[in-house]
């Protein structure tokens, strides 16, 4: 009876393999990936560059088709992008001909909804990430960190159930990255959504996540999953505690053992 109380996973990745090219040019980017993402958790995909993290994420977002295997989202098989899934990439992808606010409102236009209905929410989000004063500026008048914050607002505008984050802080400097990560955690909690973060930064993965899925390179496979037991909200000084350092060391060892 106790198993019945456990909620079904939000995402279920079942034996997903992805091959690019064909014939002698064929390369296996991802091999037999099995993964469950639980409702409300923060999961990281950790692995060296080129191990297929982005590929896995793109398949979970419906951007890429798996060669073999299936992805289930909210109990239904996922074959195309879904408006309950929001994605963020390493680049903020801001259109230079739109102001910050207009960029944040882009999904509203694509979904064919009324912009007016979403302006208050967009402004609220911009305020939360501290760039409300720049709502009418163009992206090229913003720093990289500010652009990425705006991208975060854009992705949160429609309360996605699932956030897929492909190294969203990868292009930022260390300080900006740290505060951006705090922002991410805060807003994920606020929006009560589930998040999958792709990163090759071990500390970041451990600090942010409830669980860290460690992947190996070529062909990309899942090595193991590390549970991260620390309480939330997490403060930066967590990173200097012994328990934290031990977990980081464990993850590092897993990555190096392959």
């Amino acid at each position: 009876m106790t198993t019945m109380t456990q909620t079904a996973p939000l995402v279920r990745v079942d034996g997903v393999t992805k091959r690019f090219g064909s014939g002698d040019k064929e390369m296996v980017a991802l091999s037999g990936l099995n993964l469950e993402v639980r409702e409300g958790e923060f999961l990281s995909l950790l692995g060296p560059s080129g191990c297929g993290k982005s590929t896995a994420l793109n398949i979970m977002g419906g951007l890429l088709e798996a060669t073999e295997g299936t992805v289930t989202f909210s109990g239904e098989q996922l074959t195309e992008p879904n408006r309950h899934i929001g994605m963020m990439f390493q680049q903020a992808v801001m259109f230079p001909w739109r102001t910050t606010l207009e960029n944040v409102l882009l999904p509203v236009e694509i979904f064919g909804e009324k912009k007016k209905d979403f302006i208050p929410k967009a402004e609220e989000l911009l305020e939360m990430v501290g760039i409300k004063d720049f709502r009418d500026s163009y992206p090229w008048q913003l720093s990289g960190g500010m652009q990425q914050r705006a991208a975060l607002c854009r992705v949160l505008l429609h309360d996605p159930k699932l956030l897929l984050l492909d190294e969203p802080c990868g292009a930022l400097d260390e300080f900006t990255r740290e505060s951006m990560n705090q922002e991410l955690l805060r807003l994920q909690d606020y929006a009560k959504s589930t998040a999958v973060l792709v990163t090759h930064n071990i500390t970041e993965a451990v600090f942010m996540s409830d669980r860290v899925a460690v992947m190996s390179a070529r062909p990309g496979r899942l090595v193991d999953i590390i549970e991260v037991p620390f309480d939330r909200p997490r403060r930066p000084d967590l990173q200097t505690t012994n328990d934290f350092i031990k977990l980081v060391a464990k993850a590092r060892q897993m990555l190096e053992l392959q």
């Binding site: 690019f20 064909s22 014939g23 040019k25 951007l63 890429l64």
Partner: protein
């Protein structure tokens, strides 16, 4: 203008489904349309576009005509001479202006004005000055192609990254060394774009100049064929110009590909772009 380039990506396995099958398939369609328009429906006047057969038949007649080789040679000389002259002056001035911000501030506005001027307007002056001979055609072609090479050289030389310039400075490289070892190699891909454009405009300059007044050359020949209403022969020379244009284009493209191999290659992910 944007560059269009021959695609040099690795061969696709499935050639039958590649876009180039469509390219090949379009050729007979174009020929058929030409034939239909001139022979069957006769919707295009023969004075503009003769039938494919008549052009085909005219080929040996035009190419075998007395002194034809001389005319071709003359036009090619004009184009090559004009291109060589215009491109060298353009390159030299580009380097000169890039090396001094003062010269740039002083002369760039004048030279930039050249971009806006339809250089053909100078043709009557050049002919009045130096007559119908080959020198005038070379000068016209040179003026036509100068600007493209000049401006691409100048802007290309400014493309070197600040970090790379700092590196050269830290090595105590001289201005000349920085130019030869950093700025010019960085600029080459851009300069080749200018050469490509310059070659095209040099050809145009030479032809226009021949049309306006010449004693020989392919343009002169074209006018003669037209005044005797031999449109088929005229089209043979149009095709010849197409061949000349293509050969020049591909030659420059090949040289660039061969010697500017470090040109930045765009990384594309076709599976994501195709949608």
């Amino acid at each position: 203008m944007a560059q269009i380039a021959v695609d040099s990506s690795p061969k696709k396995k499935n050639f039958l489904r590649s876009p180039y099958m469509l390219t090949i398939a379009l050729l007979p369609i174009i020929l058929a349309a030409w034939w239909l328009a001139t022979t069957v429906t006769k919707s295009v006047p023969a004075i503009l576009l003769p039938t494919p057969e008549s052009v085909w038949i005219a080929f040996p007649r035009v190419l075998g005509a007395d002194g034809f080789g001389d005319q071709v040679l003359r036009t090619l000389t004009e184009i090559a001479g004009g291109f060589a002259l215009g491109a060298s002056v353009g390159f030299f001035l580009g380097v000169l202006l890039s090396s001094s911000s003062r010269l740039r501030a002083a002369y760039l506005p004048f030279l930039s004005a050249l971009e806006a001027i339809p250089t053909v307007i100078l043709a009557p002056i050049i002919i009045a000055w130096i007559g119908f001979g080959i020198e005038g055609k070379i000068l016209q072609a040179a003026i036509a192609c100068f600007y493209a090479v000049f401006i691409t050289t100048l802007s290309g030389l400014g493309l070197a990254e600040p970090n790379a310039v700092a590196l050269m400075k830290s090595l105590r490289a001289s201005k000349w060394q920085t130019m030869v070892k950093l700025r010019i190699p960085t600029a080459l891909p851009v300069i080749f774009g200018g050469l490509q454009l310059g070659a095209t405009t040099a050809i145009i300059g030479a032809i226009v100049s021949e049309f306006i007044g010449a004693t020989g050359g392919l343009g002169y020949l074209m006018l003669r064929y037209r005044s005797s209403f031999d449109t088929a022969a005229y089209w043979v020379i149009i095709f010849l110009f197409l061949v000349i244009g293509l050969v020049v284009y591909l030659t420059i493209w090949y040289i660039e590909k061969r010697f500017v191999f470090w040109r930045r290659i765009e990384v594309t992910r076709p599976d994501l772009e195709k949608q």
